[in-house]
């Protein structure tokens, strides 16, 4: 009976909207960032002006990536809204290399047409320009799309501003109980939504490759289980609830299978669950702890954590099973690895002189680099364009999210206003 009530509570709590915005603080700047000015967009036509300051959202995105240095509005001598109004010499004097200008036009009740241009200040030329229709509720996402276009045009790789982040929060309530939440927010921390809440632990959120579903671990009913839930539908499915551990779900690149950890055989081993025929295949068979599987982008192999050598290290195994090869050799503790989108790097947690930090390792050369500076950093996850890694760290005793560029030069913190934030997973690109 208690179990039924609990499950009902979890069910009712699904899709409740708990608003707790993330705020972003840049903790370090970077040399060699591209100077760019995003001029406030102009407004054409009658009616109410849009509530979202598009230029501000674009500016913040570019700044946050660490690859751009944006010019404050107070330094701008003029505020052009099309290339015809631009005095290029004024911007050259400010040391600005690129300029973004644009304007918004009302096209009806709650609909807009946004025009913007990306300009090369030194050549006095347009690099690209778009006219995008949008609605009042999509203004922020349109701004992120514009930031993506600018990023790709100037740097040659797609921007990841239109993506989302899933994460776990834990809030201690007045009665001493914990409320654990599984949340999703825009990559800039805005629009957070809680999609599951529970009084029991929730763990290990993982986006499906199409960005439509999240797999996670829930301890509802006093026992771990792996669940898959539609991010937008709220519909959920229990995948495994065997005796012992049901944990660490990881989607195959084609979205048809989940690699996961089960200890039904007596100790934690890696299994692959086929979502189409519901068949389970055992990948590792070892008396040690084998856990935290992650697929290679080509779907041919998995990396996982194992203490078969005495201490936890990263191993790689074929997705069909067989002999596992050890991948990490530096430091005595390496865990929770995942591949970069191009498959060339691994990110994982490493023990670095008594601290737990985020590292990347080049799979070709075997060279490892520590990227973070915390004491208890964990759960690294690559941005879908491979430029940044989001991870969990501590600010005092509180868990917060942080992001670091893959070269380790730019670090920033995303702080939730209340509660303990952890286990971020960066979504794939929007399809």
């Amino acid at each position: 009976m208690k179990k039924i009530v609990l499950m009902l509570l979890v069910f009712l709590a699904c899709h409740s909207m708990v608003k707790a915005e993330l705020t972003i603080e840049i903790t370090e700047g970077v040399e060699g960032a591209l100077p760019i000015a995003v001029v406030p967009f102009g407004w054409k036509g009658g009616g109410l002006q849009p509530v979202v300051d598009l230029a501000e959202v674009i500016d913040a995105d570019l700044q946050r990536s660490g690859r751009f240095k944006t010019i404050p509005r107070t330094d701008m001598l003029s505020r052009p809204t099309t290339d015809r109004e631009v005095e290029f010499k004024d911007w050259r004097a400010l040391g600005v290399e690129n300029l973004v200008v644009g304007h918004v036009e009302s096209t009806g009740a709650g609909t807009y047409q946004i025009q913007f241009q990306l300009l090369d200040v030194f050549r006095g030329q347009q690099l690209t320009g778009y006219s995008i229709p949008t609605t009042v509720s999509n203004l922020r996402s349109t701004a992120h799309r514009i930031a993506d276009i600018i990023y790709e045009n100037l740097l040659g790789i797609p921007g990841a501003f239109s993506t989302r982040v899933a994460y776990i929060t834990s809030t201690r309530l007045a009665d001493g109980k914990n409320r654990i939440g599984l949340n999703v927010a825009d990559a800039d921390g805005h629009n957070p939504e809680t999609i599951v809440t529970s009084s029991e632990p929730l763990m290990s959120p993982a986006w499906s490759p199409d960005g439509m579903k999240i797999a996670y671990v829930s301890f509802e009913g006093g026992q771990s289980g792996v669940y898959v839930q539609g991010v937008y539908t709220g519909k959920r499915q229990k995948v495994t609830a065997f005796k012992g551990i049901n944990g660490a779900p990881s989607w195959s690149p084609d979205g048809s299978k989940l690699a996961l950890t089960l200890s039904k055989g007596g100790n934690p081993d890696i299994y692959i669950y086929d979502m189409r025929n519901r068949k389970l295949q055992q990948i590792t068979r070892h008396y040690a702890i084998d856990t935290e599987p992650a697929w290679s982008p080509d779907g041919k192999s998995l990396v996982f954590t194992s203490d078969r050598g005495g201490r936890p290290q990263i191993y790689q195994v074929s997705a069909f099973g067989g002999k596992a090869q050890r991948v990490t050799f530096e430091n005595s503790y390496n865990a929770r690895a995942s591949f970069s989108p191009d498959g060339k790097l691994l990110t994982f947690v490493t023990q670095d002189e008594g601290n737990y930090r985020i590292a990347v390792q080049d799979l070709q050369t075997g060279v490892m680099q520590v990227l973070s500076q915390g004491r208890l950093d964990e759960s690294p996850s690559f941005a879908p364009n491979g430029s940044m890694i989001i991870y969990a760290t501590k600010a005092g005793r509180r868990g917060v999210l942080a992001a670091v560029s893959v070269d380790g030069r730019v670090r920033q913190r995303l702080a939730l206003q209340e509660g303990d934030v952890r286990e971020p997973d960066w979504s794939p690109f929007k399809k």
Binding site: R172, G176, K177, N178, P201, M203, S204, F219, G222, Q223, S224, G244, I245, G247, A248, T261, S263, N267, P268, I289, T291, E292, T305, D307, R311, P312, Y333, A335, R336, V349, Q351, Y356, R375, L376, E378, S379, K394, R397, R422, E423
Partner: protein, 180 residues
């Protein structure tokens, strides 16, 4: 709830230290305990409201032996060393006492909840917590406890008993809780 838990953990720990201080040399003490507990167990099996004698304090207790604050059965938390799942020798007599109780009460079921401190990755810690609970389970099975009397659940680092960032707090979180 968490506060109560961490407080009771502290009480149990200090109790444990008291027991540890007053106990006779290890090998002899161990043998003594197992005999006494076995005795208490057979009385229980006979179905009477047994009087069990505690290992070290030796005061009589009338009622459910699980409720006896002076009994080794009052120790419900077993602590572990960092990244270790081997039961420390100072807990063997506690496990013996619980094993004897369970063997004598085949209808009794205990939940062995394994936990880890917050260092390292969460899913690995889930494995570590389970290893710890399984270590306790194996020792109990060797003492005659039936498999179906024990339920192993690992919470990893998800349910800390202490919340500080200190070595002491982390030591309190590396544990197996015996929940009847």
């Amino acid at each position: 709830m968490k506060k109560v838990l961490s407080m009771s953990a502290t009480i149990i720990l200090s109790l444990l230290l008291m027991i540890g201080c007053s106990s006779t040399p290890t090998t002899e003490g161990g043998a003594e305990v197992s005999e006494q507990s076995t005795g208490a167990g057979s009385e229980m099996a006979a179905g009477s409201e047994a009087s069990t004698s505690a290992a070290s304090q030796g005061e009589a207790w009338y009622g459910d032996p699980l409720e006896n604050p002076n009994s080794l059965l009052a120790t419900r938390v077993i602590y572990f060393d960092y990244d270790q799942s081997v039961v420390r020798s100072d807990y063997l007599e506690v496990i013996q006492a619980h094993a004897d109780y369970l063997a004598a009460n085949p209808q009794a079921v205990v939940r062995l909840e394994g936990h880890a401190d917050e260092r390292g990755s969460r899913e690995y810690n889930l494995g570590l917590g389970e290893n710890r609970a399984n270590s306790v389970r194996s020792l109990m099975m060797a003492q005659g406890v039936a498999d179906n009397q024990m339920v192993v659940v690992s919470y990893g680092e998800e349910r800390p008993a202490a919340f500080e960032n200190t070595d002491e707090a982390m030591a309190l979180n590396r544990r197996v809780e015996l929940v009847y």
